[in-house]
C-alpha cells in the first residue's frame, strides 16, 4: 500500500525551477532511495514533501490523506520526519535537549526517556556529551544527534538527506545497519545519499533525478547495473589509479 | 501668494509635538483677533492675512517655517515661535533676514539679547516669581523657611531652581533649607518628596512644566507633606487644579492672564469658550498663551498702523523695519492682558497672582512689575 505519493510536483526558487513533474511513491515498509548529482533537486524534493518549500503544481498524499496544502507541523504530526541536509542541530541547546526536542510532540514521557537511553547506547559519543552544548560536537557526532533526534519523533516515514555525510567508515556501516533495522521494525524510509552503492544496496526502489526531473526509476539492482548510472554516479567511469 | 493690499503675518503654531496642550488652542485666539481687526476695517485700510505653519515645537522645523515666511510668503512679521528652544534657532535667521518675530510662550531669561528683530510677549520667570514672593509677604502668609524643587534638563526650570529661587529667598529673607531636583520625564518624585519631608519648608519654589507640578503635588499629598508650592507662568494652566485631582491646595503662581479681571477678559473668555466648543476641544478656558498670542496680533496691528506699512512687495524691507522700530517704542499699549510696553524686546505687563483653593484657581493679587 502506498504510504507516500508524490505526483507531478513542481517547485521554483524565484526564476529557478528546482523540480518539475516529479513523481515518487513510497510503499508502506519500503526503503526508497533518491539519487542525483549536486543541484539535481534531491534536498528540494524532501523539503517539498515536508511542506518547507511551496509547491507550484502537483500533489502529495500521505497515508491516504491529501497533504498538499497542510502546514509542516501537521505533516510531522501525522508521521513524517526529516533528517535535514546540514544537520541543523540547535547549538544553544544541550545534546539531551536536542533529543528531547525531537520528541516534543509526544506525551508518553516515560517511553521517551527509555528511547533516549537507547539512543545513547547506540551512539556512545552522544552519551558522554549529553549535558554539553550541541555546538561542541564534532561533525560526525552532530550527524548522529540529527539521526537520533529524528528517531525520537516516532515517525512512520523517515526522510534522510545524506545521512552518511561526515561519518567514519565504521559508522557508515553502522548507519546502514540501523536503517535496515528500523525498516525491519516497520519504518518506511526515503533516503537521499551520495554513497550510491550502499544506498542501492539497502533500497527496495530507486529514483534518479537530473536537473529537477526523474530520469530513471525502478528496481535498485537493475539500476545499479545500468551503465548510464554507473557512468554518472558510481564513479566507475574514471577508475582511480 | 499675496494679493496687494493685504498685510501678511506668518504664524508658527505648535499644533503637534510636546507643547500641543498649551499651544493647541492658540490658533483660535489668533483667528479671533484677526477677524476682529479686519471687521473694523483692518489696518491702514488693508486687511490682515495670516499664513500658518506647524512647527511641532521643533527648532529645525521652526527654522524652515521662518525661511518660508521671510522668503516665500513675504510676511511683514511673524507670530511666534512658541518655545525657547525654537527661538534659539529662529532669532538668528530672522535677524539675518530682517523680519520681526514675537513669541507667546518662551520665558527663558535673556533670549532677546543681541536681536533687534526678536520680541517676546512674555514675562521672564524671575520677574514673575519675584511678584509671587512679594505677594506672599504682603499678605503675611507663612514663609519661615523655603526650599527649591526644579527640573534639571530644561533651561527655564533649571535657572529657576538654581538662580531665581535662591536669590528671591535671600531678597525676601526666607531661610533656604536646600533643594531637590528631578528630570522632566520623572513620574516618580518619591525620593525628592522624602527629602522635602525632612526639610519641612513653608514654601517650595518650583521650576518645572505643569507635569512636574502635578506629580510633585500628588506625591506631597501621598507622603503627607504640607507646604505651599509657588511657581511661575510655565505652570499657568487653567486646568491644573483639576489635573492635580485634589492635591496641590495653596499652590500659588504668577501669570499674565486671568479670565475674571475685567469686561474685556470676560468677553474674550466667553468668545473663546464658544469657539473651542464649536471646534470640539476639551479645554474651553483660555490660557495665558492664548491671551498672549491674541495680543501679539493687536501689537503687530498697532505697530503696522503707526509705521504706516504699505504691504507691497517693493516696500517689504522697510515695512519690516518699521514694525520693529514701532514695537520697540511701544509704551502702555492697552491690550487684553493689561498695559503692555517693551523693554529690551520683552513685554512688561501686569502679573496676576493665583492660588488653588478648593480645587480652583482664585485671584490672590494683581501686581505690576517695577
Amino acid at each position: 500500500m502506498a504510504l507516500l505519493e508524490v505526483s507531478a510536483i513542481e517547485v521554483n526558487y524565484g526564476r529557478v525551477t528546482a523540480l518539475s513533474g516529479v513523481d515518487l511513491t513510497v510503499n508502506e515498509g519500503e526503503i526508497v532511495t533518491v539519487l542525483g548529482a549536486n543541484g539535481a533537486g534531491k534536498s528540494t524534493l524532501l523539503r517539498a514533501i515536508l511542506g518547507a518549500v511551496p509547491l507550484k503544481a502537483g500533489g502529495i498524499r500521505f497515508s491516504g490523506a491529501d497533504i498538499t496544502r497542510a502546514p509542516t507541523h501537521s505533516r510531522i504530526a501525522s508521521g513524517l520526519v526529516l533528517v535535514p541536509e546540514g544537520r541543523r542541530i540547535l547549538i544553544s541547546l544541550s545534546v539531551e535537549e536536542n533529543l528531547q526536542l525531537g520528541a516534543h510532540m509526544r506525551t508518553d514521557t516515560t517511553r521517551v526517556k527509555a528511547e533516549i537511553d537507547a539512543i545513547y547506547q547506540r551512539f556512545p559519543n552522544l552519551a558522554e556529551r549529553r549535558h554539553m552544548l550541541a555546538s561542541c560536537l564534532s561533525g560526525g557526532e552532530q550527524q548522529m544527534l540529527a539521526i537520533g533526534r529524528a528517531m525520537l519523533a516516532k515517525p512512520r516515514l523517515m526522510m534522510l538527506d545524506e545521512p552518511s555525510l561526515g561519518l567514519s567508515p565504521l559508522f557508515v556501516s553502522k548507519l546502514f545497519d540501523l536503517i535496515k533495522e528500523l525498516n525491519r521494525d516497520g519504518l518506511s524510509i526515503l533516503l537521499v545519499e551520495q554513497n550510491t552503492g550502499k544506498a542501492l544496496g539497502v533500497a527496495h526502489q530507486a529514483t534518479v533525478l537530473e536537473l529537477g526531473r526523474v530520469v530513471m526509476a525502478g528496481d535498485p539492482k537493475a539500476l545499479a547495473a545500468d551503465p548510464r548510472l554507473q557512468q554518472a554516479y558510481l564513479g566507475e567511469g574514471t577508475p582511480s589509479h | 501668494a499675496r494679493a496687494d493690499g493685504e498685510l501678511i503675518l506668518g504664524y508658527m503654531m505648535a499644533k503637534s509635538g510636546p507643547y500641543v496642550s498649551l499651544a493647541g488652542t492658540n490658533e483660535i485666539a489668533v483667528d479671533l483677533a484677526v477677524e476682529e481687526i479686519n471687521a473694523k476695517g483692518g489696518v491702514n485700510g488693508k486687511k490682515i492675512k495670516v499664513v500658518k505653519f506647524d512647527t511641532a515645537g521643533d527648532p529645525k522645523q521652526a527654522t524652515t517655517a521662518l525661511r518660508r515666511f521671510a522668503d516665500d510668503d513675504a510676511a511683514i512679521a511673524v507670530i511666534g515661535p512658541f518655545s525657547s528652544s525654537e527661538i534659539r534657532t529662529t532669532f538668528p535667521v530672522g535677524e539675518r533676514a530682517g523680519i520681526p518675530q514675537m513669541s507667546m510662550a518662551s520665558s527663558a531669561p535673556g533670549l532677546t539679547k543681541g536681536f533687534s528683530y526678536g520680541f517676546r510677549n512674555t514675562t521672564d520667570e524671575g520677574i514673575v516669581l519675584d511678584q509671587v514672593m512679594a505677594s506672599i509677604k504682603s499678605k503675611n502668609l507663612p514663609a519661615a523657611s523655603g526650599a527649591a524643587a526644579y527640573a534639571t534638563d530644561d533651561v527655564v526650570s533649571k535657572s529657576m531652581g538654581t538662580v531665581v529661587v535662591p536669590k528671591l529667598f535671600e531678597k525676601y529673607s526666607v531661610p533656604a533649607k536646600g533643594s531637590v531636583d528631578f528630570q522632566l520625564s520623572a513620574f516618580d518624585l518619591s525620593p525628592q518628596v522624602s527629602k522635602l519631608k525632612e526639610m519641612a519648608p513653608d514654601i517650595v519654589g518650583l521650576g518645572s512644566p505643569p507635569e512636574g507640578a502635578v506629580n510633585l503635588a500628588k506625591e506631597l499629598k501621598r507622603q503627607g507633606v504640607n507646604t505651599r508650592v509657588i511657581g511661575g507662568t510655565t505652570i499657568a494652566d487653567p486646568e491644573l487644579p483639576k489635573r492635580m485631582d485634589g492635591a496641590g491646595e495653596t499652590l500659588t503662581i504668577g501669570t499674565t492672564f486671568f479670565p475674571d479681571v475685567n469686561d474685556k477678559t470676560k468677553a474674550f473668555s466667553a468668545e473663546f469658550a464658544k469657539r473651542t466648543k464649536a471646534a470640539g476641544i476639551a479645554r474651553t478656558e483660555p490660557n495665558q498663551m492664548d491671551a498672549a498670542v491674541y495680543d501679539i496680533v493687536y501689537l503687530y496691528a498697532e505697530a503696522m498702523k503707526r509705521g504706516e506699512v504699505a504691504g507691497t512687495k517693493d516696500k517689504l524691507i522697510s515695512d519690516r523695519t518699521a514694525v520693529r522700530d514701532e514695537l520697540a517704542k511701544l509704551k502702555d499699549f492697552d491690550a487684553l492682558e493689561g498695559k503692555i510696553s517693551f523693554k529690551d524686546g520683552d513685554a512688561v505687563k501686569p502679573i496676576y497672582i493665583l492660588e488653588v483653593k478648593g480645587g480652583k484657581w482664585t485671584l490672590l493679587d494683581t501686581r505690576m512689575p517695577e
Partner: protein, 290 residues
C-alpha cells in the same frame, strides 16, 4: 531616610521589572527588539483610563485594556515580526517603532498630549510605619509581578513549551522542520509579552495616578537597560536588572542630584556590559563550531 529611599527605589524598580520581562520575552526568545512594547505599556494605562471615563467598572476596564493590548500585539506580530525573514533581526525593529509612533499619536489625537489624572481607586493607599510611607498598591503590584514572573520562569524551564520557544529563538527554519507550529507559538508569545507590558502600564497608572501618550518611552528605555543588565532572555535577570535600575535611579537622585541620573543609570549599564558583555545572569551566545 535611607530606608525610605530604598523602599522608593524598589517600588520604582518593580515597574521596570515587568516591562523588562516583557522585553526579554520578545528579544531573548524571538530575537526581536520590540519597540512597540512601550506603546503597549502606555495602552494598558490609557485604555483603562478611557474605559473608566466611559463609566465601565474598574475590572472590566482593565480587562478591556489588556485585551486591546493583546490584539495590537498580534497585529505587530503579523505586520512586523512575521515579515522578518531569516537573518536580519534589525528589520522588524522599524515597523515596531512605527507601531509605537502610531499608538502614541492615536492616543494623542483622542486625549491630547496632556498628562491625564488617573482616578485613585482607593482613598488612602499607604501604609505608614514609623515615619516610613509604603504604597499598598505598589506593594500589591510588586507581589503580583513577582508571582507572575516566578510562574513564567517555571513554565519556560520545565515544559516542552520552553524548549520549543528556545528552538524558535535560535532558528526559525529549523524549528519549522522540527514540526513546531510557529504560527501558533509566536503569536502566543506576543500576547504574553503584551499582557505583561500592558499590566505594567496599568499598575503604573494606578500607582502614579497618571497617564500620558508618551509614558511608555522613558520607562521602556530603562526597562531595556534593566533587561540587558540582567542578561537577555533571562527572566530572573530582568527582575534583578529592574530592581537595580530603580535603586540606582532613586539613590542617585537623592544623594547626588537628578542631573546625574542618566549618567549613573546608563553608565551602570555601560560598565556592566563592558565587564560582562552578556549581562549578569545571561549566558554567552553559543557559537557554531568550525
Amino acid at each position: 531616610m535611607l530606608t525610605q529611599q530604598i523602599i522608593n527605589g524598589l517600588m520604582l524598580g518593580a515597574i521596570y521589572m515587568l516591562v523588562a520581562v516583557a522585553f526579554t520575552l520578545a528579544i531573548g526568545v524571538l530575537n526581536f527588539l520590540n519597540f512597540s512594547i512601550p506603546g503597549l505599556f502606555m495602552l494598558g494605562g490609557v485604555a483603562t483610563f478611557g474605559f473608566l471615563k466611559m463609566g465601565w467598572p474598574f475590572l472590566l476596564a482593565a480587562a478591556g485594556a489588556l485585551f486591546i493590548a493583546a490584539l495590537v500585539s498580534l497585529l505587530v506580530e503579523r505586520l512586523a515580526y512575521r515579515r522578518m525573514k531569516e537573518g536580519d533581526a534589525d528589520v522588524p525593529l522599524v515597523s515596531s517603532l512605527g507601531f509605537l509612533v502610531l499608538l502614541e499619536n492615536l492616543v494623542l489625537i483622542r486625549y491630547g498630549s496632556d498628562q491625564q489624572a488617573f482616578p485613585a481607586l482607593f482613598p488612602d493607599m499607604n501604609l505608614r510605619v514609623g515615619g516610613l510611607v509604603i504604597g499598598i498598591v505598589q506593594l500589591v503590584s510588586m507581589a503580583i509581578s513577582l508571582g507572575l514572573v516566578a510562574w513564567l520562569s517555571w513554565f519556560l524551564r520545565t515544559t516542552n513549551a520552553g524548549r520549543r520557544i528556545r528552538t524558535v529563538a535560535e532558528n526559525r527554519e529549523t524549528a519549522m522542520l522540527m514540526g513546531i507550529n510557529i504560527e501558533r507559538l509566536v503569536p502566543q508569545l506576543f500576547v504574553c509579552s503584551a499582557l505583561l507590558a500592558a499590566l505594567a502600564g496599568l499598575l503604573f497608572a494606578i500607582n502614579y495616578q497618571q497617564v500620558t501618550p508618551f509614558m511608555g518611552e522613558g520607562i521602556g528605555f530603562k526597562a531595556v537597560a534593566a533587561m540587558i543588565i540582567g542578561g537577555m532572555g533571562s527572566i530572573w535577570g530582568a527582575v534583578i536588572g529592574g530592581l537595580l535600575i530603580g535603586l540606582a535611579e532613586v539613590l542617585s537622585v537623592s544623594f547626588i542630584g537628578a542631573d546625574v541620573v542618566n549618567i549613573t543609570v546608563y553608565g551602570l549599564l555601560l560598565v556592566i556590559l563592558i565587564l560582562r558583555p552578556q549581562g549578569l545572569l545571561g549566558r554567552p551566545p553559543a557559537r557554531e563550531k568550525l
